[in-house]
């Protein structure tokens, strides 16, 4: 499964980057979302993938029976998802405001600042 996931991750990164290289700021944001999904899945893949064994301790037990999935990686991904969401919220509103100010969904009209 890790092999398959490598393709998924690679695919998500590629799609994200292609989107970010477009002129449209909306596509930029879509790219950011894909990018964050890709990075999260990469982390998930690296922790090793296990079916049907959530890291939960049964009621009354002190430890799960048998092998369970890596809870640490899950916690990290959860954190990363939330952070990604916060950042994304900001980015989305930013492009919205930028669009209002610049009046075009075109990055090429947002280059005066630099030069």
């Amino acid at each position: 499964m890790e092999t398959l996931m490598a393709f998924v991750v690679g695919g998500l990164f590629a799609a994200a980057i292609y989107m970010m290289l477009r002129r449209s700021i909306v596509k930029l944001v879509i790219g950011l979302i894909l990018l964050s999904n890709g990075a999260n899945l990469l982390l998930f893949t690296q922790a090793g993938m296990l079916r049907g064994a959530p890291p939960l301790v049964p009621l009354g037990a002190t430890q799960p029976e048998g092998v369970v999935a890596d809870p640490l990686a899950q916690a990290l991904i959860l954190t990363a998802i939330v952070i990604g969401f916060g950042v994304l919220a900001f980015a989305v509103v930013l492009i919205h405001r930028a669009y209002e100010v610049v009046e075009a969904d075109d990055m090429d009209q947002m280059k005066d600042t630099d030069t």
């Binding site: 499964m1 890790e2 092999t3 398959l4 393709f7 690679g10 695919g11 990164f13 590629a14 799609a15 980057i17 292609y18 970010m20 290289l21 477009r22 909306v26 596509k27 879509i30 894909l34 999904n37 990469l42 893949t45 690296q46 090793g48 993938m49 079916r51 049907g52 890291p55 939960l56 301790v57 049964p58 002190t62 799960p64 369970v68 999935a69 640490l72 899950q74 991904i77 959860l78 954190t79 939330v82 916060g86 950042v87 994304l88 919220a89 900001f90 989305v92 509103v93 930013l94 919205h96 405001r97 669009y99 969904d105 075109d106 990055m107 090429d108 280059k111 600042t113 630099d114 030069t115």
Partner: protein, 767 residues
């Protein structure tokens, strides 16, 4: 000692206040300090004259071997006395010359700082503290040259001077550091006694070149001489003098100082000799070609600097003694002449020698001392200048190599110097009265006359009584430069020998030129055209080039296109990673699709296809919807592989993201097909390359495992120690609560940011 050097800076900080308090006498009041310093340094003379050298050290940054250590020997004492002695006259003179000038207070600050920096420079034993003072002279000099800062030319000249000297200074720093690395010490006193350590080291050539680059730029040697006459933009002859006759000698000082360690090689002789001689001739020639008072004096200073450099390069004991004598002589007459130029300007408003004449009636005292100083410049017996010139001829004639070339250039220069001396000493005062911008009504005030009078007179006095300076100061100085006591002594009369002949010859030819001044100038006029190819052009070109390169780089790199920034970054990443993989000899990768279930395959397929659709669709909201599909597929993957909380979170976040996009995007226009096909293909290639890279890394890292995960600990301890059965949540709120805290801070910040972004704008719109 430290106090002596820093006193200049300390006084500088209060100088404006002193100036306000003492008004028109401020010059005299402030001049007390240099006078006191002069006396203080004079007190070292007996000891130093008898061959001692004194080292005084204060710790500064001992960790870096940087001390504030000072070395008083003949050389540094000679310089210290010149600086403080002349400094006294300068400060006193400035008080009157700039009387009523609105920036006189600031002027004192600069001039006193400058003086202190020079003192520090020549007295430093530690190479780094020497360098510190070196750079301080550059900065203070910059501020002095640009004193008339509202004038664009002044600013430009100041920058030029600064840029050339600091640039050279940086080379010097490298040279000094290399010297220290080789000898293991930054202390001059130790380096100078390190014998052939430097000369024998593989870095020797580099060190010499770097050090000389610093010295040549500072001392305006060809081809870096161009900045010095420009520096005459300085407001007054006073400051003009200071850095044309004092600061620039810093380079000469350092060459002299390092001569025992770096000198006595062919490289040293050739570099110093040739460049010095060229500078000498160029300086005096340009001097002849100039007419501006300060210009003429400045170029003649260039000539003197060249002479000194050449002499140090020649390096025989005669040459060194000649250098010291010439140094002293030059300081005296050039100081006098600059100050006199100031009087001409102050009283008659004249800035060009050709526009003057017949001032002897109005300014009789000035005229007298001008004549005396000019005689010394011209090297006429019995002036001290004559003594120095005789020795100069002798030194070049005896030079161990290049003697012919050096002699030729020296004689040619000497001839021209005589003409220059006549121009500055005779032209303004004799002959018919020429209308000047101001009509002088009276002689200059005593504060302004004191300097020229004393300095010019000393030129005469030391000439007649050579012994006064010979065996104490100058021989000690020469000894310090030579590295061992010198055998040569000065005398006014050496008998009829070749040097005397050359002296007479130069006198005659020089006067001939003076009396045929116009014809000579016309004949040499073509030389001005050569300036176009000179080093100043190179400087200007490189400055323009700097700006062009900068603009070009900005156009290319910082071009404003986000996607090019991204492209650059991504391609760099791919390149770095690929190169590293290649270097590692490839990655170990195990690929296997065994055990993948059909539903997983389906979900992965949908995920990838949805991603593809969101990328390729021409509909903006279609892309958002596809994104939703990606999100749900990802959530399903989390769920199918045992991550319930993550799955829930993914679903919720996905939904909220969609809602947010929906709230935000609905006023935005649809996608435009903005990019040509070729560019899309290019971007697709880059994107794929990056994707492949990440996939490879993921595979490689999955195939390799160096250690077991620490998550075993959480699985074991969650319930017993964290009192929770949802291990993920226990990690989030207990084991790694700090992460979660950071995470909610991010969320809070994002919310505040969004709020500010929208509300602040709304508020603006209302206004």
């Amino acid at each position: 000692m430290l106090l002596a050097i820093l006193s200049g800076f300390l006084l500088a900080t209060v100088a404006p206040a002193v100036h306000r308090q003492t008004g028109m006498n401020s010059g005299w009041v402030l001049a007390i300090l240099p006078a006191a310093l002069f006396l203080y340094f004079l007190s070292f003379l007996p000891a130093v004259g008898s061959g001692e050298s004194i080292v005084i050290s204060y710790p500064w940054v001992p960790g870096l071997d940087i001390q504030l250590s000072f070395l008083v020997d003949g050389l540094s004492l000679l310089f210290a006395l010149l600086i403080s002695g002349i400094g006294f006259f300068i400060v006193a003179y400035a008080g009157r010359y700039l009387e009523g000038h609105k920036d006189l207070g600031r002027f004192y600050v600069l001039i006193l700082s400058f003086m202190a920096s020079m003192l520090g420079l020549v007295l430093s034993d530690n190479l780094i503290s020497l360098f510190v003072f070196w750079e301080l002279t550059s900065i203070t000099s910059y501020l002095l040259i640009g004193f008339n800062h509202e004038d664009a030319t002044a600013r430009r000249s100041a920058l030029q001077g600064l840029f050339v000297t600091v640039g050279g200074g940086l080379a010097l720093l490298t040279g000094l550091v290399m010297m220290a690395v080789v000898t293991g010490s930054y202390e001059l006193s130790e380096i100078l006694s390190s014998g052939d350590a430097l000369r024998d080291h593989g870095w020797y050539v580099a060190i010499v070149l770097l050090v000389l680059l610093g010295c040549f730029t500072k001392s305006a040697q060809v081809p870096f001489h161009f900045w010095l006459p420009r520096a005459m933009a300085a407001p007054t002859p006073v400051s003009a003098y200071l850095h044309s006759a004092t600061m620039v000698k810093a380079g000469v000082y350092l060459m002299a100082r390092l001569n025992p360690s770096l000198g006595a090689t062919d490289l040293w002789l050739i570099l110093l000799g040739v460049f010095g001689a060229l500078t000498m001739f160029t300086g005096v020639f340009m001097s002849i070609r100039s007419t501006g008072v300060k210009q003429v004096l400045a170029y003649s200073t260039v000539m003197a600097l060249g002479t000194l450099t050449m002499l140090i390069g020649v390096g025989t004991d005669t040459a060194i003694m000649a250098a010291m004598a010439f140094l002293l002589a030059h300081s005296l007459y050039k100081g006098a002449l600059f100050l006199i130029a100031g009087i001409l300007d102050h009283e008659a408003g004249c800035k060009d020698f050709l526009q003057t004449g017949g001032l002897r009636h109005a300014l009789p005292i000035t005229a007298t001392f001008a004549a005396i100083a000019a005689l010394s410049l011209g090297g006429v017996i019995p002036m001290f200048g004559f003594v120095a010139k005789e020795l100069l001829f002798e030194a070049v004639l005896e030079a161990p190599s290049l003697s012919g070339l050096l002699s030729l250039l020296t004689v040619a220069s000497a001839i021209l110097v005589v003409a220059v001396a006549a121009v500055v000493g005779i032209k303004p005062y004799w002959g018919p009265r020429v209308e000047t911008p101001k009509t002088p009504h009276h002689e200059a005030p005593p504060a302004m006359l004191a300097g020229p009078a004393v300095l010019a007179s000393l030129g005469l006095l030391f000439g007649v009584g050579v012994a006064m300076v010979d065996r104490g100061l100058l021989s000690a100085a020469a000894g310090a430069v030579y590295g061992s006591p010198v055998e040569t002594y000065l005398s006014l009369w050496h008998g009829f020998n070749l040097p005397l002949m050359l002296s007479l010859l130069s006198l005659v030819l020089g006067l001939t030129i003076y009396f045929n001044w116009d014809r000579f100038r016309t004949a040499t006029g073509f030389m001005d055209d050569l300036k176009r190819f000179g080093p100043e052009r190179a400087y200007d070109k490189s400055m323009d080039g700097l700006v062009s390169i900068s603009e070009w780089q900005t156009r290319v790199l910082q071009n404003g296109y986000l996607r090019y920034y991204l492209l650059t970054i991504l391609l760099s990443t791919v390149a770095l990673v690929t190169f590293s993989i290649a270097r590692a000899g490839g990655l170990e990768i195990q690929m296997s699709l065994a055990g993948v279930r059909i539903q997983e395959l389906a979900i992965v397929a949908v995920l990838l296809l949805a991603a593809l659709v969101s990328v390729t669709t021409s509909s903006r909201l279609g892309a958002v919807a596809s994104l939703g599909a990606v999100g749900f597929s990802v959530a399903l993957i989390y769920v199918l592989f045992s991550a319930a909380d993550v799955g829930i979170t993914q679903v919720l976040v996905e939904t909220l993201t969609v809602i947010m996009l929906v709230l935000v995007l609905f006023r935005l226009p649809g996608f435009l097909g903005l990019t040509p096909q070729a560019l899309r293909i290019r971007d697709a290639v880059v994107a794929l390359a990056f994707g492949v890279m990440v996939a490879l890394l993921s595979l490689a890292a999955s195939s390799t495992r160096f250690a077991d995960s620490i998550s075993e600990y959480f699985i074991r301890e969650s319930e017993p120690s964290g009192f929770g059965r949802n291990i993920v949540n226990v990690i989030l709120v207990d084991f790694r609560a700090l992460d979660t805290l950071g995470e909610i801070v991010v969320l809070a910040l994002a919310a505040v940011g969004v709020y500010a972004m929208i509300k602040l704008r709304a508020e603006d719109n209302r206004k």
